[in-house]
């Protein structure tokens, strides 16, 4: 059974903001994102948190596991996203390292903040497809990954379907894509690392920018794809989220990371309609700010910044 406590969360957060503003001279404090004792009181100690961080038109998903392991999937657009959003979020939650860092694919809106993250904090395992792409920011990412390996002992893993990534013994982490053939090609979106995390009865599917081509490949492999929580692929573009794919996933919550009024029209209305047809509650970083999903392995809660 799944319960959304979003309304309560928003009401509570509004009260916190109003009271906080009165007490602190209207200063805005990001620490409200951490659930207060009152809000977290119904939550068990060993919860998993998935945060779609509001970094504009791009992706940065942070997972904090039940045993306090951390995994960052993509790093937003720029070093500013790392400095202003990703690293402060980690610090506010009491972490000063990443156990796993994943770059789903080399696009600038996914790799942008990762060189800064690699420079700033230790990383246990760095995962990427190793596709060849010529942007300065991706080159910088590879150079920082190389430095982290040589100086900090970061383990490097090529992210492809079937690869095992040690994360948290209580969380099953499956790498469902891409295929080795896709990595060898030039199409980066369709060589995105696709991850499925399962904690108890709750699954989360993270799809990078995988388009219908990679969705079809992943479906053809026969692995279970059902997931209550779906990070919608490619910022809600109509090049992804096919009917057949959503039929397999059956999401209850759809997270879309995008900026307001982006040039590409993301998320496309037909995808919003399609997600709605499947009964998914859609949350968007451009409207909701940072979105957190918290699960105890049996139920889940969604809370939003705005």
């Amino acid at each position: 059974m799944s319960i959304s406590h979003n309304w309560w969360t928003k009401t509570f957060c509004c009260l916190v903001l109003v009271l906080g503003g009165l007490l602190a001279g209207c200063a805005v404090d990001w620490s409200w994102l951490t659930p207060s004792p009152e809000l977290s009181s119904p939550l068990p100690d060993r919860a998993m948190r998935i945060a779609a961080l509001d970094i504009g038109q791009g992706d940065a998903i942070l997972i904090i596991s039940p045993n306090g392991k951390t995994m960052l999937v993509d790093g937003g657009n720029s070093s500013r996203d790392a400095r202003d959003v990703i690293l402060p979020y980690l610090t506010e939650n009491g972490f000063d390292r990443l156990d796993v860092l994943v770059l789903t694919h080399p696009d600038a809106d996914h790799v942008g903040g990762l060189p800064e993250v690699l420079r700033d904090i230790p990383v246990g395992i760095g995962v990427a497809t190793g596709q060849v792409h010529t942007t300065q920011i991706y080159t910088e990412f590879l150079q920082e990954l190389q430095r982290a390996r040589d100086e900090g002992g970061t383990q490097i893993v090529r992210g492809a379907a079937g690869v095992e990534i040690p994360f948290d013994p209580d969380v099953q982490l499956e790498v469902l894509g891409p295929s080795v053939d896709a990595i060898a090609g030039d199409d980066m979106n369709n060589a995105s690392i696709v991850l499925r995390l399962t904690y108890g009865e709750i699954s989360v599917l993270l799809t990078g920018d995988a388009e219908t081509e990679e969705e079809a490949w992943v479906m053809a492999q026969g692995s279970p794809l059902d997931a209550q929580i779906l990070k919608v692929s490619h910022h809600g573009s109509n090049t992804a989220s096919s009917v057949a794919f959503l039929e397999r996933v059956r999401p209850e919550v759809a997270l879309i990371s995008c900026s307001a009024d982006n040039q590409y029209g993301h998320p496309h209305q037909e995808i919003l309609d399609r997600l709605s047809d499947y009964g998914a509650d859609v949350y968007r970083t451009d409207q909701d700010g940072t979105i957190e999903v918290i699960t105890d392995g049996t139920t889940y809660w969604v809370q939003t910044e705005r």
Partner: protein, 142 residues
């Protein structure tokens, strides 16, 4: 008498220094260009050179009045010069569509002046960068 004005390095006439970047992705009607200084620019796909594709290194040059006639028709986009009042000192920018592209040297162009930005593919730089990335990838993931 013609005034002997000192031109910024790499400029020619009313042109500004070039900026380099890579076509990061093609998305709908746009090419997303990741510039080497970290800026992003969405360039209309129908203003790209015909052979443009993702991963290609591009050079952007800005040309002042009089230049458009000398530029090839493909790969150009008209913008307006702006000055951004920064904390330290004013910065030069070019407004292209709804976007503001910071340019690092003012050159001889004045605010509100129309400029043509020309995008040119650089196959040789593309090959060099590809080799550099392949070497890194082989070392890391070999």
């Amino acid at each position: 008498m013609v005034e002997d004005r000192e031109q910024p390095e790499h400029t020619k006439g009313d042109d500004l220094p070039a900026q380099r970047g890579v076509i990061d992705d093609l998305e709908g009607g746009w090419a997303r260009i990741a510039l080497d200084d970290g800026q992003r620019l969405d360039w209309p796909r129908d203003h790209l050179p015909r052979e443009a594709g993702a991963g290609m290194v591009v050079e952007l040059t800005a040309h002042g009045p009089g230049a458009p006639g000398t530029l090839p028709e493909e790969g150009t986009w008209e913008g307006i010069v702006e000055v951004i009042e920064g904390a330290m000192c004013p910065q030069m920018a070019i407004r292209l569509g709804g976007q503001r592209l910071r340019w690092h040297t003012a050159g001889s162009l004045a605010p509100d002046e129309r400029v043509v930005v020309h995008l040119e593919l650089d196959p040789e730089a593309t090959r060099r960068r590809r080799k550099q990335v392949e070497d890194l990838v082989n070392d890391l993931f070999g």
